[in-house]
C-alpha cells in the first residue's frame, strides 16, 4: 500500500469506526429486532413475521402515519412560505438587521421541550395569551390543543415558528447568489416587485427551496417532542405521530421489536416520500 493510500485510510479510520459503531451497527440491529420480541430486560425471542403482520393490521400505526401526513401538509408549505417571506424581509436594509436575524434564529437553539411547554401555556384555553388576545376582539376562547380539529394545526404552527430561523438562513444564503446583473437588468426592464420575485428571485432560490422542502419533510416525519409534551397524542389520537407511537411501544410498553419495525417502516416511508419529492422537483429544476 502506498504511503498516500495508508494516510488516507488512517485519516478516515476514526470516522469509519464512528459510522460503523453508531450508524451501521444500530441500523443492522434495528432490522434484526424486526424479527424479535424483546421487552428490554429479558432475553429476546424470535418472532418471525409477527411484528410485520401486526404493523400491517395495526390501525393505530396507520392513524399515526395519516396524522404525520396531515402535519406535513400544513407544516411544510407554511414553513417554506414563512421562511422565504422572512428571508426576503431580512435581506433588505433594515434597522437592527443583525438583531432580527439572531432573534428569528433563537428558537432553533432552544430545547424543543422548553418550546413545547411555552406554547402549551400560550395555547391554554383558560389563561393562554392567544385566547387572551382573541378575547379582546370578542372571539370566544379556542381549545387549541383539546379540539380534534385544531390540535394538529396548532402544533404545526408552533413547529414552524420554532424552525423558521434555520430555513431563513438557508434562504438568505441563496439570496446572496442572485446575480446583481440580473437584478439590475430586470429593474431597468421596468418589472414590478411581484414580477421581480416571480421571475427572478423565486427561480433563483429553487435549489434552496428543494433543500428546505427535503429537510422540513424529513424533520416533520420525526415529529415527537411537541405532541409528547403538549397533547400526549390526543385528542382522539389526532396528534399521535409515528415517532410518538414508536416511542410509546419502545419505552412505555417495552415492545422493542415492534418499535423497531415501526422505525424501519418510517425510514422506508421517509425515503419514498423524499425520493418522490426530488423526482418531481428535480424535473422542475431541470426545466
Amino acid at each position: 500500500m502506498r504511503a498516500e493510500e495508508r494516510s488516507g485510510w488512517q485519516l478516515s479510520a476514526p470516522f469509519v469506526l464512528f459510522l460503523l459503531a453508531f450508524a451501521a451497527y444500530p441500523i443492522c440491529f434495528a432490522i434484526a429486532l424486526v424479527f424479535m420480541h424483546w421487552d428490554l430486560v429479558t432475553v429476546p425471542s424470535f418472532a418471525g413475521l409477527d411484528n410485520l403482520v401486526h404493523l400491517a393490521t395495526d390501525t393505530r400505526f396507520w392513524r399515526a402515519v395519516a396524522n404525520t401526513f396531515v402535519f406535513l401538509f400544513i407544516h411544510v408549505p407554511l414553513q417554506i412560505a414563512t421562511a422565504l417571506a422572512l428571508a426576503l424581509a431580512l435581506d433588505r436594509p433594515l434597522v437592527l438587521r443583525a438583531f432580527w436575524r439572531a432573534a428569528f434564529f433563537l428558537p432553533v437553539v432552544i430545547s424543543g421541550a422548553v418550546v413545547a411547554i411555552l406554547w402549551s401555556n400560550l395555547y391554554a384555553t383558560d389563561v393562554g395569551l392567544i385566547n387572551g388576545l382573541l378575547a379582546r376582539v370578542g372571539i370566544a376562547p379556542v381549545p387549541w390543543l383539546t379540539d380534534p380539529r385544531t390540535a394538529m394545526p396548532a402544533i404545526a404552527l408552533m413547529v414552524t415558528w420554532k424552525n423558521v430561523g434555520f430555513y431563513v438562513i438557508i434562504y438568505l444564503a441563496g439570496l446572496q447568489n442572485v446575480p446583481r446583473s440580473c437584478r439590475e437588468a430586470i429593474e431597468i426592464e421596468g418589472a414590478t416587485s411581484w414580477q421581480r420575485f416571480r421571475y427572478l428571485t423565486l427561480p433563483s432560490l429553487l435549489p434552496q427551496t428543494i433543500l428546505v422542502l427535503t429537510l422540513s419533510t424529513i424533520n416533520g416525519f420525526q415529529l415527537f417532542i411537541e405532541p409528547y409534551v403538549m397533547t400526549g397524542g390526543g385528542p382522539l389520537r389526532r396528534t399521535y405521530s409515528v415517532v410518538l407511537y414508536l416511542y410509546t411501544n419502545a419505552f412505555s410498553y417495552q415492545k422493542m421489536g415492534y418499535a423497531a419495525t415501526i422505525g424501519v417502516a418510517l425510514a422506508l416511508i421517509i425515503g419514498a416520500v423524499v425520493a418522490l419529492q426530488r423526482r418531481m422537483l428535480g424535473r422542475a429544476e431541470a426545466a
Partner: protein
C-alpha cells in the same frame, strides 16, 4: 387450582431463566447505546449479588396445636391447652401428683395461647389460628363465674377445679390473663368478627368492672404487678380498638399503680425494679410491667409512663445485658438467683424492651430485645436452642449451671411464652438482626459488679458492644477493619422527598458507620418507570430505589432485576410489623413473593372547597349521581361574560395513561368491589362499575359541566378556586400548604360510588410507591436493613410530617404512635382511614398498555361522546384481551 399452579410455575421458570446469556446482554447493551444510555456490557454482575443471608426466624405453632384439647366446659365445646409435655414423647399431660393435682389445662395458659393465635392470625391471616383463638376464648368465657371472677383449672372431663388454691374463684392472675386475651380479641377481631365475639363481650365487661373495683380500692390485681400488667395490656388493646374515656381512665389508674411500685434507682438495688411489696423479691417471671407501661404511654398519650418504664429497663435490665444473662430472682437488697432460666422469665424482658422501642422510638431497646432473645436460639448457658423452629417446641428451661441442667420437657407455658416473645422479635428488624449474637466472655456472678461494657458477636463475625452511659445503656456496632460499604439510594426527585431522604440517610449514616448510603435523586424523565428501565438496561441501577410503581414491578421481577424481600430477615420483620396479609395479598407476585416493599400510599379521595360548596348549597357527594348534581350546581359564569369559568371538577383531558389515576380509575374502584383491571390473566373491567364511572364523566362533558380543556401548566385550578373539587391523594395537602392560599378551607370525602354500592365494596386508588432492592447490589442484606430503616415507625412519622404522605401501614389511623404526625396536616387523619381500603395497579407487565386502551375509551366515549360508553368499554376490554393473549 391447577391454573393458578401452572401460572406460578411458569412465573418461576421465567424468573429462574431470566438472566440472559452474555450474547443477549450485549444485545441489550447495543440497544442501550443506540437508544438510551451508555451500556455496561463489559461489566458483570457480582456473583454474590443476591446471596441470601440468614433467613427469617420461622414461627411454628405446631407444638402449641399439639397441646390443644377439645373439651366441654359448662356445656360449651371449647379449646384448651394441656399443661405439660414431657420429653421424649411430648404427649400432652396434666399436672403431676407431686404438685397436687390441679388439672389438665388452665385459663392461665389458654388466655396466653389465645394471644399467640390472635397475633398469628393478625400477622399471617391463618384461618386455623383464628379458629383456635376463638375456641380458647370460649374456654375463658366458660370459666367466668358470672361476676367477673374466674376459675383456673379443669380436669380431663372439663370440670373446673374449685378447690386448688391455684384455681380458686377470684380476680387473680387467671382473670387478668382473661382480660388480656379478650382485649386482644377485640383489637384483632373486633371489626371483622363482631358476631363471634358476641358471647365474649358481656363477660369481658363484667371482668373489667370487677377489676375496676380492685383498682378503685387501691389493690393490685391478684396482689401482683405481673397480673396487673397483664390486665392492663388487655385494657390497652381494647382502648386501641374502641377508645372510651372510662376505659382510658381505668387503664390510667392501673398504670399509675404500677409506676408507684418502683424501688431503688440506677445505683441502688434493686435498681428500679417494680416489686409487689417493698419486702418482696423481683422475679423475671411474667415481669410485664415495663411492657404494659410503655404500651400505656403510646395508647394513653402519657409520656411519663414511658419514662417510668424506662426507669426499670435502663437501671435494672441493662445490667442483665452487661452481666450476659437474665436472672430468675433478685432480692430487694440486690442478691441474685440466676436459675432456673425459663421462657416465662426471658420473654417478658424481650417484649418489654420492644414495647419501649415503640414508645420511645429509640432503636437501642429493640437491639437489646434481640440480644436478650438470643437465649431462645442458643445464646444461653447450655448453648442449646431452646426454641425449635421445626416443631415449634420450647424446652421448659435451664435448671442450673454446674453442670448445666437442661429441662427438655416442652410444656404449655414455655411454648407460649417463647412464641409470644419471638412473634414480637419477628416483627422488629433490629431485634431480628441481633437475635443470633452471643455474649462474649464469662457472665457476671452478681448484678452489683457488672462490667461497664460487654461485647456480643454473631457467627458471621458481626459484633456489637453495649456500654453504660448516663442514660442507661447504649450500643455501638463494631465496624469491621475493612472500609465501609456504600449503598446508592434513589428517592423520587421532587424536593420534598429528596429532603426527606437526606434527613433519613443522615441519620442512618450516623448510626451505621459500616454501611454508608449515598442519596442520588432519581434521574429526570417523564416517568420513573422509564428511567428505571433505562438504568436496568445499562446495568446502572442503584442498590435501593423508593419510587417503584406497581406498573413496573412485574416486569422487573420477570427480568430478575429486583431482590425478593419477604425472605430476608430485616425486610420480612418489617413487613410483619407493618402490614396485614390482606394488605400484601394483591402485591404478591405469582410465586407468592414480595419483591418491592410497599412503602407509601396516596389513597385518592375527593377533596372539596368547603366555602364554594356551602355557597352553592352542595353537600359533599357520596354517590356518583350526587356528584353529577354537584357538577351542575357548581358550574357557573362568575364574571358575567357569557362564558362558564367556574367548575365543580376538572377531569384531565390528556390521554397519557397515568392521567386516569385522577378520574376514571378512582371512580371505578369506588364501586368495583375491589376488582381492578386484570385478574389471573383475564380482563375484568368491562362491568357495571366501569360503565357507571365513564357514564358519569360522559354526562358531565356532554352537559358542559366538566371543562373540556387543559388548564395552563403550573396552575392548579383547585387552589385558585376555578374548580371546587378534585380527586387527589394526601401529598397534595403539603402542596396546598406550600402555596399558602389565604382563607382556603378544604376537606375530603371518599370518591363517590355508583348508586347502591355497599360500603364494603368501596375502595380507593392506592397510588402505591414501593422500595426495591436491585439485583445489581453487592450487599442485599445491608440494603434490606436500610429498607427496614426507611420503613420504621420513626421514618414513617417523618414521611407524614415532611411530605403529608401516608405509610402503607396497618391500623394507621388508630395507631397512637402516629396520631400527632397525622394531626400535623388537615384531612390526613381522614386519608389515613382508607389506607387499608385501597387497590393499586395490577402487577401485570402490560398494565400501561391496558391503561392506554382505557384512556382511548374514556376519550372517545366520555370527553367527545363519539362512541357509546358500553361500546367503548367493550372495545377497550377486547383490546386488553388481545394484549394479554399476545404474550
Amino acid at each position: 387450582m391447577a391454573g393458578g399452579g401452572d401460572r406460578a410455575a411458569a412465573w418461576r421458570r421465567a424468573t429462574v431463566t431470566s438472566r440472559p446469556p452474555i450474547v443477549a446482554r450485549c444485545w441489550r447493551g447495543a440497544l442501550a447505546a443506540s437508544l438510551l444510555v451508555p451500556a455496561g456490557c463489559a461489566r458483570t454482575p457480582a456473583a454474590e449479588s443476591t446471596a441470601q443471608g440468614r433467613p427469617p426466624l420461622v414461627l411454628s405453632l405446631e407444638h402449641l396445636r399439639h397441646l390443644g384439647l377439645g373439651v366441654t366446659v359448662r356445656g360449651a365445646p371449647v379449646r384448651a391447652v394441656a399443661l405439660y409435655a414431657e420429653a421424649p414423647g411430648y404427649a400432652p399431660s396434666g399436672s403431676p401428683a407431686r404438685d397436687g393435682y390441679e388439672g389438665i389445662a388452665s385459663v392461665d395458659d389458654a388466655a396466653r395461647a389465645a394471644v399467640v393465635h390472635l397475633r398469628a392470625f393478625e400477622s399471617t391471616g391463618s384461618a386455623p389460628a383464628r379458629t383456635e383463638a376463638l375456641g380458647l376464648l370460649a374456654f375463658i368465657v366458660a370459666m367466668e363465674q358470672g361476676d367477673g371472677e374466674f376459675l383456673n383449672f379443669i380436669d380431663v372431663s372439663g370440670t373446673p377445679n374449685r378447690s386448688a388454691p391455684s384455681s380458686r374463684k377470684s380476680m387473680s392472675f387467671w382473670a387478668a390473663r382473661g382480660i388480656w386475651a379478650m382485649g386482644e380479641a377485640v383489637r384483632v377481631l373486633g371489626t371483622s368478627d363482631s358476631v363471634a365475639l358476641n358471647t365474649m363481650r358481656p363477660v369481658l365487661q363484667r371482668t373489667v368492672t370487677r377489676a375496676e373495683r380492685d383498682v378503685r380500692d387501691g389493690r393490685l390485681i391478684g396482689g401482683s404487678a405481673t397480673a396487673t400488667a397483664e390486665a392492663l395490656l388487655g385494657l390497652l388493646a381494647m382502648q386501641r380498638a374502641e377508645p372510651a374515656p372510662a376505659l382510658a381512665a381505668l387503664a390510667t389508674r392501673m398504670a399509675e399503680q404500677l409506676v408507684q411500685l418502683t424501688t431503688g434507682n440506677a445505683d441502688r438495688a434493686p435498681w428500679g425494679a417494680r416489686l409487689d411489696r417493698s419486702d418482696a423479691d423481683w422475679h423475671a417471671w411474667g415481669g410485664r410491667s415495663v411492657e404494659a407501661l410503655a404500651t400505656a404511654a403510646v395508647v394513653l398519650g402519657r409520656r411519663d409512663f414511658a419514662t417510668a418504664a424506662q426507669r426499670e429497663a435502663d437501671a435494672l435490665w441493662t445490667r442483665f445485658l452487661l452481666a450476659g444473662r437474665v436472672p430468675a430472682v433478685i432480692t430487694p437488697a440486690g442478691r441474685v438467683t440466676w436459675y432456673p432460666q425459663i421462657a416465662y422469665g426471658v420473654g417478658p424482658v424481650v417484649e418489654g424492651f420492644l414495647a419501649l422501642a415503640d414508645a420511645t422510638g429509640e432503636s437501642r431497646y429493640a437491639v437489646f430485645a434481640g440480644l436478650t432473645a438470643g437465649w431462645f436460639v442458643g445464646a444461653n448457658a447450655s448453648g442449646v436452642r431452646m426454641y425449635d423452629e421445626r416443631t415449634g417446641r420450647s424446652f421448659d428451661g435451664i435448671d442450673g449451671p454446674e453442670p448445666v441442667k437442661l429441662n427438655r420437657n416442652a410444656g404449655a407455658e414455655s411454648t407460649i411464652e417463647s412464641l409470644l416473645a419471638l412473634q414480637r422479635v419477628a416483627g422488629s428488624p433490629e431485634a431480628s438482626e441481633y437475635l443470633h449474637h452471643r455474649s462474649v466472655g464469662a457472665p457476671s456472678v452478681s448484678l452489683d459488679s457488672v462490667p461497664a461494657r460487654r461485647e456480643y458477636a454473631s457467627a458471621t463475625g458481626a459484633r456489637v458492644v453495649v456500654s453504660r452511659t448516663g442514660a442507661g445503656l447504649d450500643y455501638e456496632r463494631v465496624a469491621p477493619a475493612t472500609p465501609p460499604i456504600t449503598l446508592t439510594y434513589w428517592p423520587a426527585a421532587n424536593p420534598v422527598e429528596v429532603r426527606l431522604a437526606v434527613r433519613l440517610v443522615d441519620q442512618w449514616n450516623a448510626e451505621h458507620p459500616d454501611v454508608q448510603v449515598k442519596v442520588q435523586p432519581l434521574p429526570a424523565g417523564r416517568s420513573s418507570e422509564e428511567v428505571l428501565l433505562a438504568a436496568i438496561v445499562a446495568k446502572a441501577t442503584p442498590d435501593v430505589s423508593s419510587n417503584v410503581s406497581s406498573a413496573l414491578l412485574a416486569r422487573l421481577v420477570r427480568a430478575g432485576s429486583v431482590v425478593r424481600l419477604d425472605d430476608r430477615t430485616a425486610t420480612a420483620a418489617r413487613l410483619d410489623e407493618r402490614t396485614t396479609p390482606a394488605m400484601l395479598a394483591s402485591l404478591r407476585l405469582p410465586d407468592g413473593g414480595i419483591y418491592a416493599f410497599p412503602w407509601k400510599t396516596n389513597p385518592q379521595m375527593l377533596m372539596y372547597n368547603v366555602d364554594l360548596l356551602q355557597a352553592a348549597g352542595v353537600v359533599p357527594p357520596r354517590t356518583q349521581l350526587e356528584l353529577l348534581e354537584a357538577f351542575r350546581r357548581l358550574t357557573r359564569d362568575s364574571d358575567g361574560d357569557g362564558r362558564l369559568d367556574r367548575w365543580a371538577m376538572w377531569a384531565p383531558v390528556k390521554t397519557t395513561w397515568f392521567e386516569r389515576f385522577y378520574d376514571f380509575y378512582p371512580l371505578y374502584l369506588a364501586s368495583s368491589g375491589g376488582r381492578t383491571l386484570v385478574r389471573d390473566g383475564k380482563v375484568i373491567f368491562d362491568n357495571a362499575a366501569a360503565v357507571s364511572a365513564l357514564d358519569l364523566l360522559r354526562r358531565g362533558f356532554d352537559e358542559g359541566v366538566l371543562p373540556r380543556t387543559n388548564f395552563a401548566l403550573g396552575r392548579d385550578p383547585f387552589a385558585d378556586g376555578t374548580v371546587a373539587m378534585k380527586i387527589i391523594g394526601p401529598w397534595f395537602v403539603r402542596e396546598l400548604d406550600d402555596l399558602g392560599i389565604p382563607g382556603l378551607r378544604y376537606d375530603v370525602v371518599p370518591v363517590p360510588a355508583a348508586e347502591g354500592t355497599a360500603p364494603g365494596d368501596r375502595y380507593a386508588f392506592a397510588d402505591l410507591r414501593s422500595i426495591a432492592i436491585f439485583s445489581t447490589t453487592r450487599y442485599p442484606d445491608a440494603a434490606a436493613r436500610f429498607v427496614a430503616f426507611l420503613t420504621s415507625p420513626a421514618a414513617d412519622r417523618l414521611l407524614i410530617e415532611e411530605a403529608s404522605q401516608l405509610p402503607y401501614r396497618r391500623a394507621l389511623a388508630s395507631d397512637p404512635r402516629f396520631a400527632a404526625s397525622l394531626r400535623r396536616w388537615p384531612t390526613l387523619a381522614t386519608y389515613a382511614n382508607h389506607v387499608e381500603r385501597t387497590r393499586d395497579l395490577d402487577l401485570d407487565p402490560d398494565v400501561v398498555e391496558i391503561f392506554d386502551s382505557i384512556s382511548e375509551a374514556y376519550e372517545a366515549s366520555a370527553i367527545y361522546g363519539i362512541v357509546p360508553v358500553r361500546e367503548a368499554l367493550t372495545k377497550a376490554a377486547a383490546e386488553a384481551t388481545r394484549i394479554l393473549d399476545a404474550r
